[in-house]
């Protein structure tokens, strides 16, 4: 990942307009990753005991300097790959993370930490920690949305006209 002196990915300097397209591209990339994965059956008859808030990610594994991870955590296959995601160099590198082959959308905070769509009101030091925290929240047999889900950001303003959201 290209990181500037403040520890913020250079790619984050891009202003808004390209964002939705970038996300679509990212999702396409993720689906490619997902398609290449053998899905691991989820064996979870009851709520699994396991790590708690802030108890994991004590260092090393999948840390900020890593370029990928692939592990089974609480019965879930977590994969993360650092890839050159964009069509242009300016888009920089991007983490593509999946849980049991389904894309887990990660967001970066300005302090360099990570949060996921599943666990959205705090952040974690690394993509792996964020992915494990997301798994902690999944119920027995619960899966992330697959390819049939709308891509985040695809139609951000579509309710404005139909329900009079404009002043």
């Amino acid at each position: 990942m290209v990181v500037d002196v403040d520890g913020v990915p250079v790619s984050t300097r891009q202003p808004g307009p390209a964002r939705a397209g970038t996300r679509r591209e990212m999702l396409r990339g993720l689906l490619g990753v997902a398609a290449g994965l053998a899905l691991v059956p989820v064996v979870a008859a009851s709520w699994p005991p396991g790590p708690l808030d802030g108890a994991h990610g004590t260092g090393g594994a999948g840390g900020a300097a890593g370029t990928g991870f692939d592990e089974v955590y609480r019965g879930r296959r977590i994969r993360g790959v650092l890839t050159p995601a964009g069509r242009s160099a300016a888009d920089g590198a991007q983490w593509e993370v999946t849980v049991d082959g389904r894309p887990l959308h990660l967001m970066r905070r300005a302090d360099g930490t990570w949060l996921s769509m599943v666990d959205h009101y705090r952040s974690y030091r690394t993509p792996l920690e964020a992915a494990r925290a997301a798994v902690d929240e999944l119920g027995p047999g619960e899966m992330l949305r697959g390819s049939d889900a709308p891509a985040y950001g695809d139609h951000p303003h579509d309710m404005g006209g139909r329900h009079g959201l404009h002043a």
């Binding site: 902690d136 619960e142 709308p150 404005g160 002043a167």
Partner: protein
């Protein structure tokens, strides 16, 4: 006609029934799921490019104020007597207190899969099937208090810590600021302990389930929580009368926040309205 938003613990049986009925009707009409989608789509993190409106930004309070008004409009199209009640989590602090009763939002999720099985929003009623979600889960889930690693709701003292800050917000206007009312209330902290999530964020975490994720609007308590956050904003305004929404002017081209935050008189997407226009709601509603 100025209407009143009430403390949820003070609603009469009839007011509870009408609120629930209106929520279910908005859901039945398909409008509710568009609110869920909209909140997901407007979550832009501050370590990424792009304009932030709903979170990690000065307009966090203004965006959710407008969002609440839209839901309230939808509810009042169904029943003009309905307003969004607020949940004062500094007072109603347990999993059995308001609003977690069978005649309002229902209770905690069950142990096996955190499914909410009581009250009008239980999956088995057939009236509250989740459509827009981060996962394929179709039923509402909660884990009040985070059973595996319990946390407490924010205290009145923690809220007061935010309220007493006279400055609305401060540069760099994101989740890393340690001063200013807005982020002290929104609750982005640093580090790994409980100081890492405060006030608004901590409540999302305490409720758990859907409320923890990007599709938090799926839990009706989202609105009661944000009505209280909105009430706190009005309290802050009353206490610090000479202070206003900041930034007053957009950050310049040299700033890393250039075009990434909404200044006082800029439009707040997706609406054609500015934070300046949203600061005074006294002509629309009041809090009891």
């Amino acid at each position: 006609m100025v209407y009143t938003r009430k403390d949820v613990s003070t609603l009469t049986a009839d007011e509870r029934r009408r609120f629930v009925k209106a929520m279910l009707e908005v859901k039945r009409r398909g409008e509710y799921d568009e609110f869920v989608r909209m909140h997901i789509d407007h979550y832009v993190s501050d370590g990424e490019g792009g304009l932030r409106t709903a979170h990690m930004a000065p307009s966090f309070l203004a965006w959710h104020r407008r969002f609440l008004l839209e839901l309230e409009k939808a509810l009042r199209r169904v029943d003009p007597s309905v307003t969004v009640p607020y949940w004062d989590w500094t007072r109603d602090r347990t999993a059995t207190a308001a609003p977690w009763t069978a005649d309002l939002l229902g209770g905690n999720g069950r142990a096996s899969d955190r499914q909410v099985t009581t009250g009008p929003f239980a999956y088995a009623t057939g009236n509250w099937t989740l459509k827009e979600n981060v996962t394929d889960g179709e039923f509402l889930t909660r884990d009040l208090g985070r059973s595996a690693n319990p946390i407490e709701l924010p205290t009145a003292a923690e809220l007061e810590w935010a309220l007493k800050d006279p400055v609305y917000d401060t540069a760099p206007w994101d989740s890393t600021v340690t001063e200013g009312f807005r982020n002290k209330l929104e609750g982005w902290g640093t580090g790994r302990g409980s100081a890492a999530w405060r006030n608004h964020n901590r409540v999302h975490r305490w409720v758990g389930g859907e409320m923890l994720g990007g599709a938090s609007v799926n839990d009706p308590v989202f609105w009661l929580h944000h009505a209280f956050i909105d009430l706190v904003w009005t309290r802050w305004q009353a206490r610090h009368r000479v202070h206003r929404y900041l930034p007053a002017e957009p950050p310049g081209e040299a700033s890393r926040q250039y075009r990434r935050v909404v200044a006082r008189k800029e439009k707040l997407p997706p609406w054609n309205v500015t934070p300046d226009q949203l600061e005074d709601v006294s002509g629309i509603y009041r809090y009891a």
